[in-house]
């Protein structure tokens, strides 16, 4: 019985650790290194990246969620630190323009094909 209990505790701890590592990895890959050329905090070896990695570690230990950590850092450094900028009034175009162009392109293509088919008939 004791052995089963011990195994269950070990499974619980290892699952928690794996989840924590995954969350940290995900956060670091979504943060931009402000002093590097297009590198993430996860990839960079700069002093700034090392500090941010350490701060993210602390924040996870403090129990902050992924969103709360992004909020904390974007309050300090602006949305530029995030690779996935949040949906805000000034970023609507950035988010919806690709979809709009896709739909527009599709409509044009549809009309052109339709016209060619009618002409052939």
């Amino acid at each position: 019985m004791k052995k089963i209990f011990l195994i269950l505790i070990l499974i619980f701890i290892s699952t928690k650790l794996v989840a924590e590592v995954n969350t940290k990895d995900k956060i670091l890959k979504n943060l931009r290194c402000l002093v590097c050329q297009g590198q993430t905090i996860s990839d960079s070896n700069s002093d700034f990246a090392k500090i941010i990695r350490s701060v993210v570690d602390d924040k996870i230990q403090e129990g902050l969620t992924e969103k709360e950590i992004y909020k904390f850092l974007s309050e300090k450094y602006g949305d530029w630190i995030l690779f996935n900028p949040p949906l805000k009034n000034n970023s609507y175009i950035l988010w919806f323009l690709p979809y709009l162009l896709f739909v527009l392109g599709g409509a044009i293509l549809y009309l052109m094909i339709k016209k060619t088919l009618i002409e052939k008939k």
Partner: protein, 172 residues
Amino acid sequence: MKKIHLIIICIFLIFIFTTFYLSLDNKKIYNTEDMVGQKIDKVELTLFNNNKTFNTKEISNYKFTLFNFWASWCAPCRKEHKNLIKLSKNKNLKIIGVNFKDNKTQAKEFLQEMGDPFFILIKDPKGKQSVNFGVYGIPETILVNQDLEILKKYIGPLDIKDVNEIKKIVKQ
């Protein structure tokens, strides 16, 4: 139909031209202009000379506070130090120095050699405290008012133009 094609191509070309024009005009260098007007967090900082703490909410006791992030190993900090000495003579302004990732002995030697403009000196040996102020390199200087609101943020060494600007603001 040809007319419609021509209009679509024209709109597309205008769109590409405008996008490229705006992108080229856009400054690629990160700046912290967005931070101006925001309030700094109330955080506990550790004093340089002992392990006592200083809470940033205490700066509401002073009319204007200038946070300067520096280190003895930083050459531009050496360059701007004379300007901090000039500003330290201003009665309306208190300068809080944050010693960033530095060797304590070398930091002390730096201040002995160049003069000490700091009203309060904070230590940040791991650089983590500076994240609370949005610092990403040194030297950086932040001018804050009594409400803990950021009035100005200077990235890089303070020059005489910045000194005059700060003097003008704190005179008000």
